[in-house]
Point group: C2
Chain length 472, copies 2
């Protein structure tokens, strides 16, 4: 085929080469130029269309790149087999049609008692802004480049120091891994520990951790929590490889593990190289009486404790920075198997946090928040004591929520649903159980006091009054 007519004047505004490319593509797709057919040489077509030869070459190159034609040395350009191409346009249009979408709208909540909600009113916006500006102002090239997969060394240093001072954690910066959230670190941990492990967890517990272990193909075995103790029962009979615990402040029960129990766990773990304890120290920053209790890791003699922590509660959940301290023998496996992973935390974010901690702002922020949360803690307890429907207030002067047993036969989820309809978000304990609770005599609410202020707490509890007053 040596004659091609292309209207280069009409049609949409586009470069000449693109018009030629589009025309030929259309001819090929419509089958008007069929497979194997030879296209005119660039020189010839350029002459026919009175355009420069390079224009035609551009068009042919595009067709070559997209595989519509192929070039044979000394012979010229030939049309390829383009089975299936005609469907392309259909699909495209179909999808453009469905492309429009609405965002999910969230329910209007006036008082939020979620146990994982934090106080945002006291976030140190000004300091945070100032540090950000400073970090960005320096046009620091290295902050754009890939960083250390474990997290930047400088940040690991300040975190290691903090953990040692605040939690008695024994670790060097090189034993610390920084990642975007606990679940991510658990995904890494599973690759270090290897597959097919048996994990023992409390029940109720943090379901995110439970679901993560399940997704990783771990066999998760649960021990019902007895009374106010995060008792991990008969480890001996269950023979787990890993025990997941929250000694400083069990979620959701809010209890503190006794020293005796801690030693039992450590002794069990120390008996075999393959046994590990995962200590999730999620909100240990907030303890309102006496000194904080040293971490399990700090009294571990055999290097069996995997220590995890996060800045979600101490700074903000949206920060997405968690950390994990590994025993040396696991660090070696990490370096071998996971050393190639890039960090999951933006370096600018890491640098801002480092300066926030190094400048002493973090310490001041924690003290401030401890005071804020303590007064909320004392306030909500004071208010709850006035309520006839409060049977029992749990918790241990720590964390950001109180488990409250309700003196009523009302169904727990019904209660939460009614409350939400009245604009109050409350969470029941039942939804934190792995094994569905058979018959719970009385509902237990996890009243988070992190987010609401005193006025909101009062209002929220009064709304619960209205719901419960006829239920007693």
């Amino acid at each position: 085929m040596n004659e091609i007519m292309i209207d280069l004047q009409g049609g949409a505004k586009a470069p000449l080469y693109e018009k030629i490319y589009r025309h030929l593509k259309h001819e090929i797709c419509s089958g008007r130029i069929s497979e194997g057919e030879k296209l005119p040489s660039t020189r010839l077509l350029a002459k026919q269309l009175t355009v420069s030869r390079s224009t035609v070459e551009m068009a042919y190159e595009q067709l070559l790149a997209e595989g519509y034609i192929l070039s044979e040395a000394c012979r010229g350009f030939f049309v390829c087999d383009i089975r299936g191409l005609y469907q392309l346009n259909q699909r495209e249009t179909k999808n453009r049609a469905v492309k429009q979408e609405k965002a999910e709208v969230l329910k209007e909540v006036s008082v939020d008692f979620s146990p994982d909600a934090v106080d945002t009113a006291h976030f140190p916006y000004n300091i945070w802004r100032k540090i950000y500006r400073g970090v960005l102002a320096e046009d620091r090239e290295e902050l754009l480049l890939p960083g250390d997969g474990q997290g930047d060394y400088g940040l690991r240093c300040v975190i290691a120091d903090y953990l040692h001072q605040a939690r008695g954690v024994n670790c060097t910066p090189s034993e610390l891994i920084i990642g975007a959230g606990n679940e991510y670190l658990e995904l890494i941990l599973a690759q270090i520990l290897g597959g097919g492990k048996k994990v023992l967890m409390d029940d109720p517990t943090y379901l995110q951790a439970y679901h993560t272990f399940c997704n990783l193909g771990y066999e998760v075995w649960t021990a019902p929590v007895i009374k106010e103790e995060t008792a991990v029962l008969n480890i001996r009979t269950g023979k787990p490889d890993i025990v997941y615990v929250m000694p400083s402040h069990q979620f959701p029960l809010g209890t503190v593990m006794t020293f005796k129990r801690r030693l039992e766990l450590l002794n069990w773990a120390s008996e075999e190289e393959s046994r590990f304890l995962i200590e999730d120290d999620h909100d240990s920053e907030y303890r309102y009486r006496g000194k904080p209790i040293p971490s399990l890791q700090s009294i571990d003699q055999s290097g069996s404790v995997i220590y995890m922590g996060t800045f979600s509660k101490s700074i903000a959940p949206s920060l997405r920075i968690s950390y994990m301290v590994l025993p040396e023998r696991l660090m070696e496996v990490y370096r071998k198997k996971c050393g190639f992973y890039s960090t999951t935390v933006p370096r600018i974010q890491q640098e801002v946090l480092r300066e926030f901690m190094k400048g002493g702002h973090f310490g001041r922020h924690l003290n401030r928040m401890r005071a804020v949360y303590k007064s909320k803690h004392d306030f909500i307890i004071g208010e709850l004591r006035k309520k006839a429907w409060v049977a029992e207030i749990g918790g241990d002067h720590a964390g950001l929520h109180l488990p409250v047993r309700i003196a009523s036969g009302i169904n727990e989820s019904a209660l939460c649903k009614q409350a939400l309809e009245a604009g109050v978000r409350v969470v029941g304990i039942s939804q934190h159980y792995i094994e569905p609770v058979q018959k719970q005599p009385e509902p237990v609410l996890l009243l988070g006091y992190g987010k609401p202020d005193e006025e909101e707490i009062k209002r929220g509890l009064n709304i619960l009054d209205d719901i419960l007053k006829y239920q007693l």
Copy 2:
């Protein structure tokens, strides 16, 4: 035991309750007060020490919380069994000793030809700063709270639009998952696809992806890449479940997959529900001739393509934002199995990126960088053409590096080592092979031109001159 003498005057400055707590703890640890022994009542001890009763209660509470003593209703406080505690101090001091550490120092590099390095000189610091400041200035509470696990809807909208316009990708915001890097998204993907899959990859390829699949227990099977084509050979005989490809620009070979090959892959995948193609579109933004080639996903009829992309090359590697487009049937599994995962990208970062894209800054940045990289691309090719040691220049007018075959018998890694000693970082292709290359006649360097400017390119190549001139 009813008599306890405590020196509340001397010793370190500390609250009274803490001095009492410390003294009793020490007595218990040293065995001077032994297991089972009864402590004096708070009233009695307060009287003895002439301190307020609440002070003693504070001290006892701390001892209770840490498990040194237990309280028995109506009987009083008794010392617990504290086996193993004495070792605590040893361990602590030991660790304090080793706690000091040095950061690894990096080798001094004057010219960096790494294929994954990007140009940082043209990063839009000012705009980025401005947007950051704006986002932070508003004290937007919601940016501190946990966001959508899939990534914020607003950001998914602009990314979906961008992907549709720039890459022809057919997706709605709800089919898009944002995460902190490709490897993280692959960890999620594996949980969606399930374990024990067989993956087929090119060889050479992106080793990070290879290692990730291996860590996940996937059987990875490789197809040697033939000539300049990212040929995925005999899929039929190998019977993989998943084929991992980089059609727009294969790494490290820099080739573009022909349309014919794309259709072959799509046809293969369409034959069975369980078959998937992972399209890693890592640096498709940078193409210097003709129009960009539509993505594999854009011509997928059967919903078999899992599309992955990143902002590492288009903005900065340290940003840690990647995205994944899943076929609807995989999205359903994601929602069921992985819906509970929190996002791994900080919300402030997500909001800044959203405004960067929405404001048109991203488009402008890309055009600017395309011009910057094109001129570097043309410049380095011009320089390479002058070199006697250049046997062949690969690549396809795209991406940020050129595979360059060296006309010399010199060993590839030896060449890279010598270059590094002379201050030039160059990467050989061999280290990107999964199956170690048996005998490579001539070295192939992956010359990245992203980072160095023209002067550095010149200098770097001249240093290679000096190393190679006697090796021809």
